[in-house]
Amino acid sequence: MRTVDYSNRDHYLNAVYPSPFHSRQAQHNQVREWGRWADYQSVPAYWCTDMEYFAGRNACGVFDITPMIKHRINGPEALPYLNRLMTRNVEKIKPGRVGYSVWCNEAGRVVDDGTIFHLRDGDYRVCSQEHQIDWFLTSALGFDVEIVEDTHDVAGLAVQGPTSCAVLKGMGLAGIENLKPFGLTYFDFEGTELMVSRTGYTGDLGYELWIGPDHAEVLWDRLFEAGELHGIRAMGSRALELLRIEAGFILAGVDFLPAMEAVRPTHTRSPFELGLGWLVNFDKGVFNGRQALLEEKQNGSRYRLVKLDIDGNKPATDSYIYTKNGKLAGTVTSAMWSPSAKASIALASLEMPHGEAGEKFDVEIYYQRELKWSRVMAPARVVKDVFWDPPRRRQTPPADY
């Protein structure tokens, strides 16, 4: 089933589409709640966020990533184009490999982050949270490159958790256990091509499956059939949110403001201010934001994104963060009680020079017990490591759960 029928001249009247997996999502969606993610109807929780979260950590959670904005970039100069667009050296992402990157505007502020899939030699897919086609096309002046947004032409499922490899093997994807982290490979599947990448947004063993929307339903069916004895469960966006915070992954629009959406440019962040300095390569030649980032590197950044371990069990959602002297030092951008780390954790943006590992703060948490509000100043400290980082995430082949 094609998502958008472009031959229908009124197609634009429909702003939000059912996912190609919609019929299957509807079967699993016991609470009949629907949300919106970008251009698609999505599921916040099929039944119970906690159960779905635990499927992702202890078995296999399946999440529909079709709504992620997808671009196909190819043509003779795709690589030089991407290298001028992205902060990292895209030359390092060989065919069959995937890399995380950010891209910046002229002020060195992050426009968006995303993943670059080097599908085949010189043929790339770039996934992002926000629509980027205008920015990508603007950046294409002077390059022999073809750029399309093909969000609606690719259906995607994230299959995440310790049993995910076993599920895919059971589905008949022979040799999947040999796929290394950030690798991608292809399978013949029901008469079409299925691309599988060992990527995800959960910080655990996991894969992402990419297929034409016409084959979305059969993919879902085969997957759940194979996963029946491996604890497979459809996962909603609320569970994914918990998984990604534990993994320390940032989210556009939550942990940083995409630069092109900012009315107040000072509210945006540079890669350095998001802890993504490792993605900035000054040696590869000119790229968007280079000049400003070089100056920032010399003159210092304004903010630092950190991970906080907070005392107590109350999620520090949207909290102010104070120094031990009571001076405001920053705000929490994402927070949760982590069932796996057994800790109240958060991602936070602190004003420089704050945020060195080990630095201690007080976090002002407002919470409710049966409609009664209370406030607590919870001690917190900056930690260096992510809260969830199991070895199986990197093992090839992963253990057979």
Binding site: R84, L85, E106, T138, G142, G285, R290
Partner: protein, 522 residues
């Protein structure tokens, strides 16, 4: 491969030559690379028919006096065949009016208009002088650095020092259109038409277009000793000016190579390393200065990939649609203009009989058509300078508007028809013009683009308007002549302070280049 001592200048137009001369005088090793077989670009004197010569730029009114002096142009062969040209606003019925520096005379003029003209000239000259001072400066950056703030403060102070009334008037009119200002001050249609032409010559604008008061002021912003906007005709055509500049550059040690078109600017890593010629020859240099227009330089010679995307996009968006054509007629004798005595033919003649005529002429070009009744600025330079035509014969040189760069039908289709249109308009004022014409050349913006490698065929290498002036010309972050690629500079009319045969862009660029090179030596 980099010869860090060498400075290459792409393009031997007047700004490139001025830049070369200043750099060479300061001891730099300079080579000018000119695509044509002679220097001068649009300010060269060319033979367009056997024995008949003309220059695209035909009137001198902006040449920086400091440059003339510094480069001793007079002693290098530059002399003016005629200065202080009047403007005669042609009327079909022969009842022309004549505009001089502070008087206007002619049949049917009200006394109020004579007085208003004097006042207009006085205040416009004063305002133009302020812009003239800016012409001499490297535009400040908009930063909080003390140097930039002081420069900005000085500008504000100078504006204030004009006095309350003049400052108010300056602020009131600079951003608005010439039509409204002229309507407010004058009654005579012919006078208003002629004055409005000065505001729209060479640009994609009509009297009702915004900031055409500014363009009028810019035209008057020269700093020669005569009245503001004083018009001269150089002996030997405009080529004499550029020849003198070339001589100054060569005298100071600069090397000028003609007939070598640059194919691309070479970049090694993120640093300029030289140029490659169309012949394939590569010339190494640590500093490359482009007198080509901004778009040609960045999108053609350098390649957008060597700069950040937003910067490239700004260049791509520079408004540079040429809108003026150039007509050269070889005449077997002086034409007869109804109502003009032969001795008046040496003045500047304009066909812009009223404001609406000029506006209507512009309307066409918005839709990719040429004007059905074009406006014209006409000179017969051979009246003052017999070297331009065989004995007893003459040259008519005219700027003809409007002729859009992108003609709907295409210029290969449209050129002949446009020529007929122009000749028909001209015949209304000079009935024997066709009989007198023995050869002709019409250069459309497309021809100008192809002949002189200037994007859009635009005289000024980009519209001259408030949004493309000072620190906004050609675009922010390139307005101080240096490009983001180390060692690459712009020095052409696409930079502040723009076009007209002025030379200040080349001089300002040389200032920046010298300061950078001295800085890098220490």
């Amino acid at each position: 491969m980099t010869d860090s001592n060498r400075v290459l200048i792409i393009g031997g137009g007047h700004n490139g030559l001025v830049c070369a001369a200043y750099l060479a005088k300061a001891g730099q090793k300079v080579t000018v690379l000119e695509a044509a077989n002679q220097v001068g670009g649009m300010a060269a004197t060319r033979e367009f028919a056997p024995g008949f010569k003309a220059s695209c730029a035909h009137l001198l009114y902006l040449l920086d006096a400091g440059i003339s002096k510094d480069l001793s142009l007079a002693s290098r062969g530059l002399s003016l065949a005629k200065t202080g040209l009047d403007t005669i606003a042609l009327a079909k019925n022969g009842k022309h009016i004549t505009l001089s520096s502070d008087t206007v005379e002619g049949p049917g003029l009200a006394d109020e208009d004579r007085t208003a003209y004097r006042d207009y000239r006085r205040s416009m000259s004063k305002f133009a002088a302020l812009i003239g001072e800016l012409n001499q400066q490297v535009p400040q950056r908009i930063t909080n650095r003390p140097k930039d703030l002081i420069t900005l403060g000085k500008l504000a102070l100078k504006t204030r020092l004009m006095g309350r009334d003049d400052m108010r008037e300056f602020l009131r009119i600079t951003g608005i259109n010439i039509h409204d200002v002229l309507e407010e001050k004058f009654q005579n249609g012919l006078l208003k038409g002629a004055l409005s032409l000065d505001a729209v010559l060479g640009s994609f604008s009509a009297p009702r277009s915004n900031n055409t008061v500014f363009t009028a002021l810019h035209r008057m912003s020269g700093n020669n000793s005569g009245p503001a906007g004083d018009l001269s005709i150089p002996a030997g055509g405009m080529g004499a000016v550029t020849a003198a500049m070339a001589a100054a550059a060569q005298n100071a040690g600069a090397d000028i190579r003609t007939g070598c078109k640059v194919r691309r600017i070479l970049v090694d890593g993120m640093v300029t390393s030289g140029v490659e010629l169309e012949s394939g020859e590569q010339i190494a240099a640590g500093t490359v200065v482009s007198n080509a227009d901004p778009k040609t330089t960045l999108l053609g010679l350098l390649g957008a990939r060597h700069v950040e995307a937003e910067f490239a996009r700004r260049f791509n968006n520079v408004r540079s649609k040429g809108n003026a054509a150039k007509l050269h007629l070889a005449l077997d004798g002086l034409p007869g203009f109804s109502g003009l005595e032969p001795e008046q033919l040496g003045q500047r003649l304009v066909i812009a009989p009223d404001l609406d005529y000029v506006d209507r002429a512009f309307n066409h070009c918005k839709y990719g058509e040429f004007s059905a009744r074009p406006v014209m600025e006409i000179t017969l330079p051979s009246v003052h300078d017999t070297s331009l035509a065989p004995e007893g014969k003459h040259v008519l040189s005219a700027i003809v508007q409007y002729a859009p760069r992108e003609l709907g039908a295409g210029w290969s289709e449209g050129k002949a028809a446009f020529f007929e249109t122009v000749m028909a308009v001209l015949s209304n004022y000079a009935p024997d013009i066709r009989d007198r014409t023995i050869a002709s050349e019409l250069l459309t913006p497309e021809d100008l683009e192809n002949t002189f490698s200037v994007s859009g065929g635009h005289w000024h290498h980009g519209e001259l308007s408030l949004d493309q002036f000072l620190m906004l010309r050609p675009v922010p972050k390139a307005a101080q002549y240096a490009m983001p690629v180390d060692g690459l500079y712009l020095c052409g009319a696409g930079c502040h302070p723009g076009g007209g045969v002025m030379g200040s862009a080349g001089k300002n660029a040389a200032k920046v280049i010298l300061s950078d090179r001295r800085g890098s030596e220490t």
